[in-house]
Structures are given as structure tokens and as C-alpha cells.
């Protein structure tokens, strides 16, 4: 009887260990500090979501290998959101009520927004580490971002295009969803305010595959730059534009900073300008370490700059927990918020300095890349 129970316990242990996955290596003696992560691990966005999760696991393991948070192991609980708000709401409630986490990291605008009322109500700190919708700054006292919102890179890009590249007439094409509309509007406003003229402003359906009409409409306005604020369909839009013989300068934002674009477009990608919000391995040796860890996974990750923020947001969590623990406070969402505002300035391994501002926004240098000989080459840095 006892033996069989013993065996069952033994069997269930590896599973449990898998679930909490990272950590526990060194700091077994002290109670674990837990935090929650709401990520799409299924659905159309899971390609990025799963790589975020993987990176958190790496970062948590790294922290625990170095002794954890004041000797406490850090432990992460991941729940799937499918990047859908209604699923995220339930998952957030489970993390807060069942698992009692004081802090949740998350991404994807609709998920951040859906979880915000719960965070505010239950006084649980919610950190956005990947969504860039401008509304995120106004979601309440318990929602902060450690990722620069859209205005940071789009503003820099629009100003740069007008002032440095000397482009006066811009056509703006965008995917008709949250990301596309938000980004395109900022671009239009900034470009117009700088003195340029927006000659076409067209959104296309997220499910569209034929962009001929939109592109021709843009061409009629005779632009000298076309800004495309799209997502995974971005390569197709560019391909069709080049196939139609439109040779204008193309710009995009951080979604375009993706090696897949180079292989899908080949020579057609030449001259494309995109943004990135994180330094490369050449500029920051820590990034090389992250890439090394990914080599063990056996493939190149999706959206490396985002993953740098993913890693750093884990470090932010550890520092917050460290501050709360050092000050002898109970680990609650309220104290986590207090810690975030008390620390204010974080020096982070992958993305450099982070300053939390009272308006819930952050500033970051913007790296502009241009495609040259089928490679992304650093064009300029806008600080």
C-alpha cells in the first residue's frame, strides 16, 4: 500500500518539476517567489508567445543558477491566452486567485487591456513587456510597461524619414487592426507635424492577400516613401509592390526586423528601412549569450529584440522581488508597485537602462536598420 503511494508520488514529481520548469537548482531551502506570465502558447500568435516563454525560462534559470532572489528561487507560472482577451481574463484570475501571484508579465495589446481591470481591482502589478498600443499608458495604477510603446519608434522613424532622408510625400498603408491603426495614426500625425504630406492613408483587411488595389491607390498619390505598418503579411505587401514596379523607399517598424523577410523577398528587400528597439549582439555582449542559449534549442528565435525585453522583464521582476524582500515587506502586488517606483532606474543586461516614468511610458533609443546585400545593416541610432 505504502509502496504504491510512494511510487505514484515519485511518478508525479517529474511532471511537477516540468511544470515549474526552470530553477530550484540551488536555492532549495527558501520558499520560492512566484510570478505569472500570460502568453499565447496556442493560436496565431503562439510563434512569438512560445519563444517568449522559452526565454523567460532561460532567464529564470540564469537567475536561479546565480542564487535566486536573495536565496529564494524564482518560479514562473505560464497560462495560455491565445492572444485573446476573454481567455486572458480567466487566466489572469486563475494566476491571481488560485496561484496567488503578486505580479504578472504579459504582452499583446488586447490581453494587456483585458487583464488591466483585474490587476487594478486586485492590486496585482501587471507589466507589459511586448505590446506597444499607445493606450497602454492609460490603463490604471497597476499597469506599467517595460516595453516602449508605439510612439517611441514610429515617432523616431517618421521624423528621421522627413528630416534626414528628405522624404516629403508619404503613403501610409496599415493592417486594419489594433497594432496597424495605432502605429499608422502616430506616423501620419508625426510626419504631418514635421512638415511632410501624407498622400495616402489606407488600411487593409487582416485576412487580405491581394494588395494590388491599395498599392495602386498609394501610387496615384505619387509618394516618395511608403510606410507599411503591417504584421506577418508584410513580405507579401512588399513583394506585390515591387512586382507592380513601384520603386519607392519602403519603411516599416520593428515587425519588419525579421530575418524571414530577407529570405522571402530576396533582392526585393533591398533598401527597406525598419526599426528595432534593442541593441544587437555586436553592441551588447549579453545578447550574444542569449543567442548562445538559443543555439542549444537548435534554431534561431522569432523576434530577437522582443526576446531581449522578455529576458530583461524577468530581471525586473527579480529586482522588484529583491527590493520587497530586503525591506522585509510581504510579497504583495501593492509592495511590488512600491518597489517598482522606488527603484525607478533599472540597469538591464539586454536592453540597457530602463527608467519608469510617472506617465507610465518609457523612453528607449531606436535603432534604424536598412537592408543591404540581403542583410540588416545599422543605419542610425535615434536616442
Amino acid at each position: 500500500m505504502t509502496a504504491s503511494i510512494g511510487r505514484r508520488t515519485a511518478l508525479s514529481l517529474p511532471l511537477a518539476a516540468l511544470a515549474v520548469s526552470a530553477g530550484r537548482a540551488r536555492a532549495q531551502q527558501k520558499e520560492a517567489f512566484r510570478f505569472g506570465a500570460l502568453m499565447p502558447t496556442t493560436g496565431p500568435e503562439a510563434g512569438y508567445g512560445l519563444d517568449f516563454v522559452k526565454t523567460y525560462e532561460m532567464a529564470v534559470k540564469d537567475i536561479n543558477d546565480k542564487g535566486g532572489v536573495n536565496g529564494h528561487p524564482l518560479e514562473m507560472l505560464v497560462l495560455d491566452t491565445q492572444a485573446k482577451p476573454e481567455i486572458a481574463i480567466n487566466a489572469a484570475n486563475k494566476l491571481i486567485d488560485v496561484d496567488k501571484v503578486p505580479l504578472i508579465i504579459t504582452a499583446w495589446s488586447s490581453v494587456v487591456k483585458a487583464a488591466a481591470p483585474i490587476g487594478n481591482r486586485t492590486k496585482t502589478l501587471e507589466l507589459n513587456m511586448g505590446a506597444n498600443s499607445p493606450d497602454i499608458a492609460n490603463l490604471g495604477d497597476y499597469v506599467y510597461t517595460v516595453f516602449p510603446l508605439a510612439e517611441v519608434d514610429v515617432t523616431a522613424l517618421a521624423k528621421y524619414t522627413y528630416a534626414k532622408l528628405g522624404k516629403k510625400r508619404a503613403a501610409v498603408l496599415y493592417i486594419n487592426n489594433d497594432t496597424g491603426i495605432g502605429g499608422a495614426k502616430i506616423y501620419r500625425d508625426v510626419f504631418t507635424a514635421a512638415g511632410g504630406e501624407v498622400v495616402a492613408f489606407e488600411g487593409y483587411d487582416p485576412k487580405a492577400t491581394d494588395f494590388t488595389g491599395v498599392l495602386l491607390k498609394a501610387r496615384v498619390g505619387n509618394p516618395d516613401v511608403v510606410h507599411i505598418h503591417g504584421l506577418s503579411e508584410l513580405p507579401q505587401v512588399i513583394a506585390q509592390m515591387r512586382q507592380l514596379g513601384m520603386q519607392q523607399q519602403i519603411t516599416s517598424y520593428s515587425a519588419g526586423y525579421n530575418p524571414k523577410i530577407l529570405s522571402q523577398l530576396g533582392p526585393a528587400a533591398e533598401g527597406l528601412i525598419v526599426t528595432s528597439l534593442a541593441p544587437t549582439s555586436a553592441a551588447n555582449p549579453n545578447v550574444a549569450k542569449l543567442l548562445e542559449l538559443w543555439k542549444q534549442v537548435g534554431r534561431f528565435p522569432n523576434g530577437l529584440p522582443y526576446l531581449q525585453y522578455a529576458w530583461d522583464s524577468t530581471v525586473v521582476v527579480a529586482q522588484i522581488y529583491g527590493w520587497v524582500d530586503k525591506n522585509g515587506l510581504p510579497l504583495t502586488g501593492e509592495n511590488c508597485r512600491k518597489a517598482l517606483l522606488a527603484i525607478r532606474e533599472f540597469d538591464l543586461p539586454m536592453t540597457g537602462k530602463l527608467v519608469i516614468r510617472d506617465d507610465h511610458r518609457i523612453d528607449k533609443p531606436v535603432y534604424l536598420y536598412v537592408v543591404k546585400d540581403n542583410k540588416f545593416v545599422l543605419l542610425d541610432t535615434v536616442a
Binding site: 496556442t42 493560436g43 496565431p44 500568435e45 503562439a46 510563434g47 512560445l50 486594419n176 489606407e202 488600411g203 487593409y204 483587411d205 485576412k207 487580405a208 492577400t209 491581394d210 494590388t212 488595389g213 491599395v214 495602386l216 491607390k217 496615384v220 506577418s232 503579411e233 513580405p235 507579401q236 513583394a239 506585390q240 515591387r242 512586382q243 507592380l244 514596379g245 524571414k260 529570405s263 522571402q264 523577398l265 530576396g266 533582392p267 526585393a268 522569432n302
Partner: protein
Amino acid sequence: MTDPVILLQILWTGIAMSSYFVLFTVAFALTLKVEKLWNFAQAGLMGIAFYTMFYTLNAVHWPPWLGVGAAVVLTAAVSIAVEVWAIAVLRRRHSSGLIFFIFTLIFSQLVAFVLTLMFGTEPETIFPSVMSPVRIVGGVAMSDWDLQALGVTVVLLAVLYWLIRHTRDGQFMLAVADNDKLAEIYGISAKRAYLLSGIIAAVLICAGVYLYGTRAGVTPDVPIGLVLTAVIATLVGGLGRIFSAAIAAVGLALLQSFSILFIPAKWQALLLYFVLFFALVLFPRGIPVWRIRRAKPLAPIAVAQAGD
């Protein structure tokens, strides 16, 4: 915007881009006609077809004919398996249409989850590059992909037309579509007709997915949206009229393409739904494309006359 070259360009790309839409629509309309089945499981088949081609052509670099062949075989096999082990069981039980609807939909979701587990959800294309060479004809850009798409679609539809009109199996399929009980009395096997229509649909789906996947990124969630548009075209074309559905598919694609001249692009999708809704309000039994009664009882829809 009303420059004739621009209009021609929109027309040309619109027609070329509607090719896979046409193939999916015909596949859907065929199963609907023969099996009386709103087969949303075709979304699952599309997923299987795509990832087979993606794996064999993009990852392990088989020659194209072999990869496409493998996709056809696998897709047809799954199609038959679903028919024999699930649809036939439900049919024997005289299950309600809703059960079929839910089963086929959930089946497609299951396939999407399995594919997610195997391949992730990063958008993939069948070949690493989505570019194809372009020639300018009278100011209109025509890519090799456009020509290939038109060629494949026209050939497949011609073969299907021949199959239905001039082979015994094709006639049997129509007989079963007309009245399966009566057909069985005359010794025509409904089961054989169902299987045949499933295989034809699998071929059409593979062709459509090949065209789509060489041009646009696919994730496991994409196919269900593609089926939905096929449903709309099938309906506007009129139930049970396979080739009218194909023409409706082209028409809807062109309507969307040309609407850009009058309305902002973000309203294009709305136009599609409006057409669907008002078409049904005006013609509650489907749109009478061109009803001609032929003397031959098994004559399918008159295709040539439907283009007015």
C-alpha cells in the same frame, strides 16, 4: 485611378488571386452538392496539405512533383478516413445537420492544434521566397505566379467538367447528388460517389493550397478563414451549382478588388458581407444565375451562360 492601365492591372491581379479562392470554392461546392454536407473539415484538409508541402519542399527539399504528390495522397487519405470513420457513421445514424456542422468544425480545430504542436504558429510559405519573375505586358505587370495560377485553375476545372459530363463515375456522382436513395435503387453506389467527390476535393484543395502557400504565409489558423470565404461564394453562386459557385468566387474577388476605387480598403470586407446578406434577402432561395432546363435529367448547370 480610372486610368485604363490601372483598371486592367486590378482586373488581372484580381483574377489571378481569385484562383485559389475558386479552387477552394469548387471543392466545397462539390462536397455540398454530392454529399449534402457543409464540410468544414476541408479546413483541416487544407492544413494537412499545406504542412505536408511545407515539410517536404521547404524542410527536406524533395522535388516539387513529389512533395505535391505526397500532399495529394495524404490529404485524400485523411479525407477518406474522415468519410469512412466519421461522416458515414453520422449519416447512418441520420444525425442532424448541426451535428455534421459541429463535427467538421471541431475536426478542423483538432487538426489545427496538432499542426501547432508539430510546426508552431510562425507563418510559413511553401518555398523560402515569395517572389516570382514579372513581365510587363501593355503596362500591366504579370508574374509567373499569376500565369501558373490561372493555368492550374483552368486545367483542373476543365478536367472536372469533363469528369462530370463525360465519365460514368461523374454521372453517378450527379445521380447521387440528385437523389441518393433513388440512385442506390438503380445500382449506383452512393459510397463510391462520396469517396470520389472527397478525393476530387482533396486534389482541388492541394492545388489551391499550393498556390496560396507559394504566395502568402500560412499558420494553422489560416484555413478556417479560407473555408468561410468559400462558403460565401458557394452561396452566392447558388447551392448545387458547382461552376456557378466558381464564377461567383471570381466575381466576389473582383468586386473586392475594384471597390478600392470607391471606398477605403478597410471597408472592403464589409462589402462582401453586405452582398451576401442582401443577395439572400432578395433571393431567399439562392441567386438564380441562369436557370436552364435541359432535356437530359442529369445535366449540370449551364456554365457558359452564367457569366452575364
